[in-house]
Amino acid sequence: METLIEVKNLEFSYPGLPLFKETSLEIKKGEVFVLLGPSGSGKTTLAKLLAGLIQPKQGTVLIEGLDIFDPKVPPLKRENVFKKVGMVFQKNALFDSLNLLENITFPQKERLPERSQAERLKRAQSLLDRVGIGSFPTLFPDEISGGMQKRLGIARALALDPEILILDDPTAGLDPVTSRDIADLILELQKEKNATAFVITNDVSRATQMGDRVGLLKDESILLIGSPEEMKSSQNPAVKQFVEGLLNGPFGDYQMEVS
């Protein structure tokens, strides 16, 4: 299978907080790669680096072979690559002044000006129906529940028929039953479109459910684990500590004496 996203020797830090050092990763076309990691380890930052929203200090990110941070690449070429990237944000990032339908027509209006408004509306309604919130298209994002907001975020990410999905903690804060439904929906859609997905989470159950391949963010780089089954049987102390929630291990000592 061909490599779709390639991260090479990435280095990034916030003042006083090094996040990545010589981090490399390859994601193949059509696979679902799940990245696990404790909070504050830089998962969201990595997602935003892949989406070209922030600049790395060093290293390259290639999407379909194009170096997205190369200043010599003409902006139009870069924009065309990002047309193929859909992102679901941790905090949903829904446009709160637009209703459900407009949230999905907006990206089309900006990126596909040649498409007629009627077509955009048709597409938006069918996407809303597809994710199961099509019956109230004129409500606003803050009038629907957290689970529905997630669904809207997914529908918006699909508005431009992306080939790559970046999902930043798509089930954060949701209860397990809703989480599982959302994850199932994402998998279904990903299979339908034969898209490639990069999923970030700290929920081991979601990694098991969704991942073709699982990685763990540890020591400023990505520890590749393999399939979910390999994750569960892994003897690597860091993997073991994270998956089982052990209070001692490479991630530090969480043990406390109640004295």
Partner: protein, 254 residues
Amino acid sequence: MEAIRQMKETSRLIFILYLKMGALFFTHIKKRRSEILEQLAVLGWGSLPVVVVSTASAGMVVCQEMAYHMDLVLKTVEMVPGFSTQFIVRELGVAIPAFLLTAKVGASITAEVGTMKVTEQLDALKLLSVNPVEFLTFPRFIASILITTILTVFSIAITFLTGLLAAVQGYSFNTLQYITASTKAIDEIDLLSALVKGAVFGSVIPIVSCVYGFRCKEGAEGVGRATTDSVVTSTILIILLDLILTAVFASLFR
């Protein structure tokens, strides 16, 4: 030291945004027409009642105060119409709406943009290759200039009328006599100064508000802090510009 560094950074960003607005004016005014119209409606319609109510009462107060002082110093209120109108056109009719708009328009822009920042909506825009400066700042910039100028004219008219009312009621002026004295007291340059001041103040508000909105820090605390700082900075800048413009018009044209 930190405060000075912050101030430098803020003024740098304000300057850059002004330059960008200038460039966008020539390239994007057509493309963003629908956003500009929308902002005109949102910002203008929302601010109208506040400006009307406040300038109406300010007009009366200014007339009464002028009368008090004329009576005190000159022992006559004969000069009240001319002086009141001069003061209204040159200063009050412009300053009162500008200050109210720093709160009404400025704070709401910062709150909106800041919320978009902390809820990652700005990232979502960037991923769609939509430039937030072009999409958010530019329409608000154009709309705010237009609105502030229009509201300035409005507020001068209202202040003048309520001042007239107070003078006729309280100091038994004849309406016609008041209007004649007023028109004699002001000239085109006064009106020009009012419009220029209005437009300048109107341009400051969205620029400062967006600078603070874009730099907003995480969470509810960040949005609250950014909004407060933006109102204060706009107010300070407007006072400074008011002094400069007042001095310029006073020395250039007299």
